[in-house]
Symmetry: C2
């Protein structure tokens, strides 16, 4: 088992009643790590004053390795694909372990463009995705409308990514808490302000944006605003695919749930507040109604904002923290926390048990930011002087 | 004092401990009637399970006899003007009696049009209002912008109604409750389902939409949706006038408050639900941001819907109920409940004390709907068979 990294025991805590693993942060990533570790026979505690209250509380839950494959993020795309492949098994195992569903749906995703310009933008991206060998197929307008008659007649065209699915992040957190608890995970309802407060052989920092203050890692908040609609009269939404589109230059996604809910998101803002603004709501509503006109008749039930844990290269930070024996990071998942939950949990649990990082983790280890960590810690020290 | 109408004592209740007046409904109209009656020395009780929870809770509080003077509503306009003239004295007296402000502001109202079509629509109405001798003055675009630089450069033109003011309806309810309580009014926190449950010499039905079930009067719910924004950073809004405009055919009003709040309203829908819909929010936000672009940066703090008590002629119903001795109505104020509060309270208190209706009330008495009342009661009896 990993104890402060290969060849080092400095700083590793010991004691007969010490937990094997303490996870700081009870979002999906932290909870799934705790669950996986407990399944491997480790004694695990999770620290969080408000489980599930971070980015996951507002996340849409798209499992979209294909539609989220952006230019220049080749290694991240590989991890997204790997984690998405683990999702069906993860979802089934979790639902069985927790005794509760998580809204895993496999209807696929449509990528659409409202205007000719929007379609050109969408096509540019899916052509890149096709070039990577990812499963996305352009559709003729008639085929697009056959698949989803709720789309506005104005929509110029699109493509289908049949393997891009969805899950309900709030139900995911509920299920992970139940599964972790059944597996013997303990809870500490406290807000960890410093890692010295945590007693365990290995500490996993899965605190989202909070990881920056705890570790010095370059994780920054990236604000996202979104809203939740509900189909009128307790009905289900009039469309089944996740719809991702561009509407007069505005990117928007629409995620329909069996409950009748439709999540409409999301802004991407370099801000750290969680205010809901009139302008963001206007842009999201306009884009949503332009793509699927029937949404105008839906009830508006929630408007909210959350903070994604962003990193300099948009990829997560997973692995042992340099110079901090016994401390692992699993943070910086940015827009991809839900889809990356299974692979992150699997690989972190494996790393803790074996002490050896899986090769899949190589591009995502904290040491790629070691200079940045030093700088952040140094500037923190300066601030504290 | 009025006891069941001139020449009749049938059905009038008696007893040494009986209140003189029972008011059913603790909205602004009911509370102001109770306050005025208590000031006249009457023993008053108010029945309401949820005071201030009706139309006033979402109302914007515009005191706009001029901008609300519509074609074919000449008599209603007269009452609006009369009540608006009473507002400054009423506001000062109430603030002193309650020891709390009500957000009465006298910055005036701008009526504007975004496009040439919108301006033509606005001009058609203010020309009519000018023809009635009401104080509304067209402004050149430069003069409009001098008065309110926050208006979008696109706004084509407008007019100013300097006497159309505003008050904060939620603070109004709070103040009226305090003033009424200090004047000796008693409270019954019950939902009145039938007037036989009410013991008093005179009963005033000021129950908004609830008056229909209690009296058979033709009062119907007219849904209004609106939203509340807040200037960022605890600032005050960047404009001081109430702004009423048309934006690409969408009528909208913007009411700035000292607290930083801006009320944006409102839809007018023949529906009885209070759901907030995506389409209504989209239309209101678009119109608001088109007229005053800085609103895009404001926080969205509330989206809500309420039910106005509408009547067949859009005018209120104030006076003795035919065939129901000792029962008065003060309901059906539709879009005008706040502005009409002072005159309604004054005239109803006077009617109760003297037994004689003021001539001002002549166009608004319940007997103009006597046929409708009979029909409604008859159909109710049929339903109950």
């Amino acid at each position: 088992m990993l104890r402060g990294g290969p060849g080092s025991t400095a700083g590793v805590k010991k004691g007969p009643f010490l937990p094997d693993v303490a996870v700081v942060g009870a979002g999906p990533v932290g909870l799934a790590i705790a669950w996986r570790c407990a399944q491997r026979g480790l004694r695990v505690v999770v620290h969080d004053a408000a489980p599930g209250s971070g980015a996951s509380h507002v996340a849409a839950g798209m499992l979209a390795p294909v539609a989220e494959a952006y230019f220049g993020e080749h290694e991240l795309t590989g991890l997204l694909v790997e984690s998405a492949a683990r999702w069906p098994g993860f979802a089934a195992e979790l639902a069985a372990a927790a005794g509760t569903g998580i809204g895993h749906r496999t209807d696929g995703t449509l990528v659409v463009g409202l205007t000719a310009d929007d379609l050109a933008e969408a096509r540019r991206l899916w052509t890149y995705q096709q070039g990577l060998g990812l499963p996305i197929t352009p559709l003729r307008p008639s085929a697009l409308r056959d698949r989803e008659p709720a789309l506005a007649p104005r929509v110029r065209g699109g493509a289908v990514a049949p393997g891009d699915h969805q899950v309900d992040p709030r139900r995911l957190v509920t299920a992970l808490r139940a599964a972790a608890e059944r597996a013997g995970v303990g809870w500490r309802p406290d807000a960890v302000g410093d890692l010295s407060e945590v007693d365990a052989r290995v500490t996993v920092v899965a605190a989202g944006c909070g990881a920056a203050a705890l570790t010095g890692l370059p994780v920054r908040p990236v604000k996202g605003q979104l809203l939740r609609l509900r189909a009128p009269g307790r009905g289900t939404p009039g469309f089944r695919h996740v719809i991702r589109g561009y509407a007069d230059g505005e990117p928007v996604y629409l995620v329909p749930r069996d409950s009748g809910e439709v999540v409409v998101g999301a802004t991407v803002e370099e801000r750290a507040d969680t205010e809901v603004t009139a302008g963001a709501m206007l842009r999201l509503l306009r884009a949503a109604v332009d793509l699927v006109p029937e949404l105008a008749e839906y009830d508006l039930v929630e408007a909210s904002a959350g903070l994604r844990p962003g990193t300099p290269d948009n990829a997560p930070i997973i692995g042992a923290l340099p110079g901090r024996p016994g401390v692992l990071a699993a943070t910086g998942h940015h827009r991809h926390g839900i889809v990356l939950t299974p692979v992150t949990a699997d690989l972190v649990a494996e790393l803790i048990v074996t002490g050896e990082p899986d090769p899949l983790l190589a591009p995502f280890t904290p040491d790629r930011f070691t200079g940045a960590v030093r700088t952040a810690l140094a500037s923190e020290e300066e601030t504290c002087d």
